[in-house]
């Protein structure tokens, strides 16, 4: 999460921050009105990088917690029981959810980068 955000912040022109400070706004307002909107592509990228492993990872959760509510655990249980049909259905549902999230994130990121360029 930190890496894409760090890169997004590093790409922001210092002149924007300096211009906002010259206009007399507080640091919190500079963050809210300048830094945060300009770092949205980094935030979207970071959220995607966190969201996807959380959706798919179940080994860690299984080790530290009873992962009854996790789809990955369900898929693993089905395949361990040689129930390919049910495991495939849940896998395809998860694939669809992840594809939708990835496409939406890519679209938002591209739109924001386009606005920054304009």
């Amino acid at each position: 999460m930190i890496l894409p955000l760090y890169n997004a912040i590093a790409r922001i022109d210092d002149a924007y921050v300096e211009a906002a400070q010259d206009l007399g706004v507080s640091s919190a307002t500079v963050f809210r009105r300048v830094l945060l909107p300009l770092s949205v592509p980094g935030i979207v990228s970071g959220v995607t990088m966190v969201f996807l492993p959380v959706m798919t990872n179940y080994v860690v959760l299984d080790m530290i917690y009873n992962s009854t509510y996790i789809m990955g655990s369900l898929i693993g249980s089905y395949f361990n029981a040689y129930d390919w049909r049910s495991g495939s259905v849940v896998s395809i549902i998860m694939l669809a959810v992840l594809s939708i999230v990835t496409l939406a994130a890519t679209r938002v990121s591209e739109e924001d980068e386009g606005e920054v360029v304009r």
Partner: protein, 135 residues
């Protein structure tokens, strides 16, 4: 010859990556539960999936968990990135813009710290009960 090998290698890698997904997709639309036997085309599996409350709870539970973790990561990551970018470099007196220290080492350090906190200090193990809000 080299170019042909590159295309072959690319094809093998793509096949290795996408063939399992394709097989899963095909199996999800059949009525066969046996490996190797495809059976007849059927949408019964999806009907069962969307009408079984336990499975729907798992779906929504996973989504809610991922959303909550993403929100927490956004808040903590924003603070971390701002701190890494505007904070003073380690071992230096000042300077706003700098190349950060090897962040991979820091992240590994954080993971180990969290593991030590949870397992050693809180005594957490696989059977530890954490109240989970009903979905």
């Amino acid at each position: 010859m080299k170019r042909r090998f590159q295309w072959l290698w690319l094809g093998a890698v793509l096949l290795f990556m996408y063939a399992p997904i394709l097989i899963l997709g095909i199996y999800s639309f059949t009525d066969s539960a046996v490996i190797g036997a495809l059976g007849q085309f059927s949408l019964t599996n999806y009907q069962v999936l969307f009408t079984t409350p336990e499975i729907m709870d798992m779906l929504t539970g996973t989504l809610i968990l991922a959303l909550i973790v993403s929100l927490m990561a956004t808040a903590l990551g924003t603070v971390g990135a701002l701190g890494a970018f505007y904070g003073p470099p380690a071992g230096a007196a000042g300077g706003a813009h700098h190349e950060p220290d090897p962040r991979g080492q820091r992240r590994r350090g954080h993971r180990v710290s969290v593991c030590i906190l949870l397992i050693v200090f809180f005594g957490m193990d696989k059977d530890t009960y954490i109240p989970w809000p009903s979905v």
